[in-house]
């Protein structure tokens, strides 16, 4: 009886080897699966980050063209969330924007900027002030922004490093403006130009915000990330080493 018990407990040496072999294989497969899942998650997160970064940068790129366009009346134009194409008002609109629409434009600008620029971004604060001024100026009856947006956008480089990112992008932007000269003659201009811009962004609570942006020429766009300076707003013209295409 005891021999039979001992025989039952005895494991064949080849079976033991086989068992450990299978165990090692299982661990390896598990490890590979784990790393694959991690990589896939990281890739998915990176893709999500890049998508969000592009969305924020696009809005920042064309903020001066889109946010200065004051609706003619509430609901007459769509406020596009993608902001790749800004609404264009009919050229027959009055030069003097109504006060309630100016107030609407101010609120819209504030909401957009809260989603685009970091709260401590000096560039954001400066640009916000300029756009608010341009909105207010449309109450004087001398000019009206009719539309603006992007015709082409080229992502030269998107670098993501944890919660920091750097983006170099060029695009053709357009605007449409109606204005009267000193003799009262009405003009409509449709300026178009190509710009290169370098943005730095930071991630706060899973959202990306623009920290700095450099509006400049090809020369600055080719600088490495470490060379990008944080532009400081100033009241009077300041020394700089770059000129830029109009």
């Amino acid at each position: 009886m005891s021999e039979r018990k001992n025989a039952a407990k005895t494991v064949h040496p080849r079976s033991r080897v086989k068992f450990y072999f299978l165990l090692v294989i299982a661990v390896l497969v598990g490890f590979i699966a784990f790393t694959q899942i991690q990589t896939a998650n990281a890739s998915a997160q990176l893709a999500k980050d890049i998508k969000n970064i592009k969305s924020v940068v696009t809005e920042a790129f064309i903020a001066p063209q889109t946010l200065t366009v004051i609706p003619e009346q509430m609901g007459s134009i769509a406020v596009s969330s993608s902001a790749t194409i800004a609404p264009a008002l009919d050229a027959s609109v009055k030069l003097q924007a109504s006060q309630n629409m100016i107030a609407f434009a101010h609120t819209r600008t504030q909401n957009r900027f809260n989603h685009i620029y970091a709260a401590d971004s000096l560039v954001g604060k400066s640009l916000y002030g300029k756009i608010q001024t341009a909105i207010d100026a449309q109450s004087k009856g001398r000019f009206r922004a009719l539309g603006g947006g992007i015709r082409n956008i080229h992502w030269r480089q998107v670098l993501v490093n944890g919660s920091q990112a750097s983006v170099t992008v060029d695009a053709i932007v357009w605007a449409r403006v109606k204005y009267s000269d000193e003799s009262g003659m009405i003009h409509i201009a449709k300026p178009t130009a190509g710009y290169v811009k370098v943005f730095t962004l930071k991630k706060i609570s899973d959202q990306w915000f623009v920290e700095t942006q450099l509006d400049d020429d090809l020369q600055s766009a080719q600088m490495s990330i470490n060379q990008i300076a944080n532009p400081t707003p100033a009241i009077t013209p300041t020394q700089s080493t770059h000129t830029r295409k109009p």
């Binding site: 200065t68 756009i131 000019f143 605007a175 000269d181 020369q219 532009p231 707003p233 020394q239 000129t243």
Partner: protein, 218 residues
């Protein structure tokens, strides 16, 4: 008073300073004439030839003068060439030729500070979209004067153009039927001949741009 005067004379004679004082007075007189006279002489000797400067700008607005070095962004170099054609003298800070260009010659903000601080120019007016003068066809400066542009209103000058004679602007190929009559400018980088001074027709960032109108010395 006489007592003190005679006392001083005695000291002068006693010290043998009479000749030296006479020499000092002569030297002071020459110095005074120099200080007062030189600026008068200099102001009459220099005359900025606006017509010559404008003629140069119109001639080379759409091409490069082979007598000067040109980079891809040569807006300021072009304006400097026109000013040189108008009689401005090259110097250590502001110079350009076939082989080299100084920063004050070729870089817009550097040129602005050179003109205003060292070359007798003055800022005639600063305008942006909230200022009605921005939308006027005519600005505060004259042919031969300088126009500086800060595209984003961040306080850093990005571009400059050279004001030429007023008239009808060249047609805009991107905007058929458009017309403008008023003060005009020529510029390089994106070469333009007889474009509107405020550049609204070509500047999508017009709403945040700041323009500095600078009067060149006469």
């Amino acid at each position: 008073m006489n007592r003190y005067s005679s006392f001083l004379k005695k000291i002068v004679y006693a010290a043998g300073l009479r000749d030296q004082l006479s020499l000092a007075f002569r030297f002071a007189f020459v110095l005074l004439v120099g200080i007062v006279g030189f600026p008068i002489f200099a102001s009459t000797a220099f005359a900025y030839n606006r017509s010559a400067a404008v003629a140069y700008a119109d001639k080379w607005a759409l091409s490069n003068d082979p007598n000067y070095l040109h980079y891809s962004e040569d807006c300021t170099g072009f304006a400097s060439e026109a000013m040189y054609a108008g009689g401005d003298q090259q110097n250590r800070a502001w110079h350009g030729d076939k082989t080299s260009l100084s920063a004050d010659w070729d870089v817009a903000p550097d040129n602005y500070f050179y003109e205003v601080n060292q070359n007798g120019a003055h800022l005639a007016e600063t305008v942006n979209s909230s200022n009605s003068d921005y939308w006027n066809s005519y600005n505060a400066t004259l042919p031969g004067d300088l126009i500086y542009y800060d595209w984003t209103g961040d306080g850093s000058i990005d571009h400059m153009a050279f004001q030429v004679n007023a008239g009808k602007a060249a047609s805009d190929p991107n905007n058929p039927g458009w017309s403008f009559t008023g003060d005009l400018m020529d510029q390089h980088t994106t070469n333009r001949w007889h474009a509107p001074w405020n550049d609204i027709e070509y500047n999508p960032n017009y709403s945040i741009t700041v323009i500095y109108e600078v009067s060149h010395k006469n």
